[in-house]
Amino acid sequence: MNSTGGSAAVSLEAVTKTYMVGEPVHALDGVDLEIPRGSYVAVMGPSGSGKSTLMNVIGCLDTPTEGMVYLDGQEVTAMSDRERTRIRGEEVGFVFQTFNLMPRLTAVENVALPLVFRGISVDERRERAAELLERVGLGDRLDHVPNMLSGGQRQRVAIARALVSDPALILADEPTGNLDTETGENIMTLFEELHAEGNTVVMVTHERPIAEHAERVVHLLDGEIERIEELEAVGTEVES
């Protein structure tokens, strides 16, 4: 969206991540993956398949032992810790299973948090955050702190926060894991809308029905890509 050319939102080349737990364990073992701009990808796999590691590597929270990671065309693997933190703030929007909101900050302050570390003025921060909360349907909850909000509302705040930097991709880790089915469905609807608006969404999940909202499902097993499944665009039904 905010970068030129046909380069993918995320591109992994032969990414290997090895942990030394007594003996070397390959959490990721030579993964090649391209996530095009504007796509909606789900990552599935059983526990220990490397889902979390893949997510950390894509989200610039972790660096691979070997291989290359490109985020929005920029090589992340060669970056310093400082630059990686910067690009994480600007190009990746995280949505977590446990929401991970700052408990003492209001909804609007939580959404504006990433902008704080980019030195954007208070007024501009608040304006942009309020706009996004409006977008996720929480225009009347701007000054509520997280424990005054329901689970679904908290996740909406988290999604608004993920969008605030206008990132290259939204990285969601089990975003419905702590929500009841109905609220979960509402959240999935929101993701589909965001996708329809042109955002790139990568979602890690172990629930098949959730993964079916995506265009593609990447199946991981033992640190390798087992298969990539192309799905019918279910989202179109919701979109209309």
């Binding site: 933190t85 991970n100 700052m102 003492r104 570390f117």
Partner: protein
């Protein structure tokens, strides 16, 4: 955001701040009391006192230990008479305190060890006498100060007879001929504070009674009064040369390897001030310890705070907070605690200093520069105590932090 974190743990923050408050308040209180004490002492030197040279002979190792330290009885009456003839000198006389058991009047006996002084006529100036006159040399007369005169059930007045019981139980009488206007010390030999005093002439009280075992009575100290303040240095010089070349004291002083200490009130005060400064440094050092304890309190609470907020640190890092941002956040928190603590501590210390000065009855003097120092120390304590916990927070791995429950 730091401020909000502090506010959200009111009790904990209050207790942490209290540690700093107490430390700073203790320092400020003691510094204020020290400054007030010094100001009280310095304020007490009369201009008249400034033209006096106080002398005694002591072994070299006793020098700079204050008035009369190590003083040996070496000065004779002819020495004093000779000294009063020296250029620049108006008067010279001996001085000694007489060790007593008690001072009695009208059947009442007040135990006193240090109240009785034997000296020359000029020791008490004429205009310092409020009632009566000065004593005469060779007469059994005494001058009292109001603190002494009013110590008895029936106040002593001019014309009354008091009884001084010397150590050993020997009692002598003296007729009170004068009462001084105040009870301040009349020379550094008496110390620097007010107290009850009986002033007696050296003759007969010292020469005939205390020193009668000696062939020639010798005084442990002398007072040389210069003609004017401008003559003080000249008087001091001529006194020294007289003592070193012509005096009776010379022989004994040489034999016992004594050196002459000749000092003005101002110089003696300087020495006393040095002692006071040391004392103050000691007390402030102890108060400073409580400040150190306070800063350890901050460090401790910051470590708890960092651990407790590991997850929040993870969130902030995930959304793009640099190490520096996290560091700033926690250091700011510690500094806020430090600043609030030192400001409140300074206020409390000002009150404490005032209360202390009231209690020990000295004029209040605030060392204003210390208030600035206290607040600077508060900030430093905050930074110092917050830095390590903040650094620990800053280097938290976001992956671990987000997983942290």
């Amino acid at each position: 955001m730091s401020w909000r974190a502090i506010r959200s743990h009111k009790l904990r923050s209050t207790l942490t701040t209290l540690g700093v408050i107490i430390g700073v308040a203790a320092v400020i209180t003691f510094v204020t009391l020290g400054a007030s004490l010094q100001a009280g002492i310095i304020g007490d030197i009369s201009p008249d006192d400034r033209q006096n040279v106080y002398g005694w002979a002591a072994p070299e190792e006793s020098s700079n230990q204050g008035p009369l330290a190590g003083a040996q009885p070496v000065f004779t009456q002819p020495d004093v008479d000779g000294l009063s003839e020296q250029p620049g000198v108006r008067a010279a006389y001996g001085y000694t305190s007489i060790p007593t058991q008690s001072v009695g009047f009208g059947g009442e006996r007040i135990p006193r060890q240090d109240a009785v002084v034997a000296t020359g006529v000029d020791y008490v100036d004429e205009d310092e006498i409020a009632d009566g006159r000065r004593f005469e040399y060779g007469q059994r007369e005494a001058v009292l100060n109001p603190a002494m005169a009013n110590a008895f059930e029936r106040n002593v007045t001019v014309g009354d007879t008091i009884t001084v019981t010397i150590v050993g139980g020997f009692a002598v009488n003296a007729t009170v001929v004068g009462i001084t206007e105040d009870s301040e010390a009349r020379s550094p030999f008496e110390g620097f504070g007010p107290g009850p005093r009986v002033y007696l002439p050296l003759d007969p009280y010292y020469t005939q009674l205390v020193a009668e075992a000696q062939e020639t009575p010798r005084f442990p100290a002398i007072v040389v009064e210069a003609n004017s303040i401008d003559d003080v240095d000249r008087a001091k010089e001529s006194t020294r040369s007289y003592l070193e070349t012509e005096s009776d004291a010379r022989e004994q002083a040489e034999a016992a390897n004594l050196t002459y200490e000749l000092q003005t009130s101002t110089e003696l005060l300087g020495q006393l001030q040095a002692v006071l400064d040391q004392l103050q440094a000691f007390v402030v050092g102890i108060a400073g310890l409580s400040l150190l304890v306070g800063s350890i309190g901050i460090a401790n609470i910051m470590l708890v705070s960092v651990t407790e907020r590991t997850r929040e640190i993870g969130i902030m890092k995930a959304v793009g907070a640099q190490k520096r941002d996290i560091l700033t956040l926690f250091v700011t928190e510690a500094v806020i605690v430090g600043i609030i603590g030192s400001i409140l501590g300074t206020l409390l210390g000002i009150v404490g200093g005032w209360a202390g000065a009231q209690y020990i009855d000295i004029p209040l003097t605030y060392p204003v520069e210390w208030f600035g120092i206290a607040i600077a120390v508060g900030i430093l304590v905050g930074v110092g105590a917050g830095l390590y916990p903040a650094w620990r927070g800053a280097r938290t791995d976001p992956i671990d932090a987000l997983r942290y429950e």
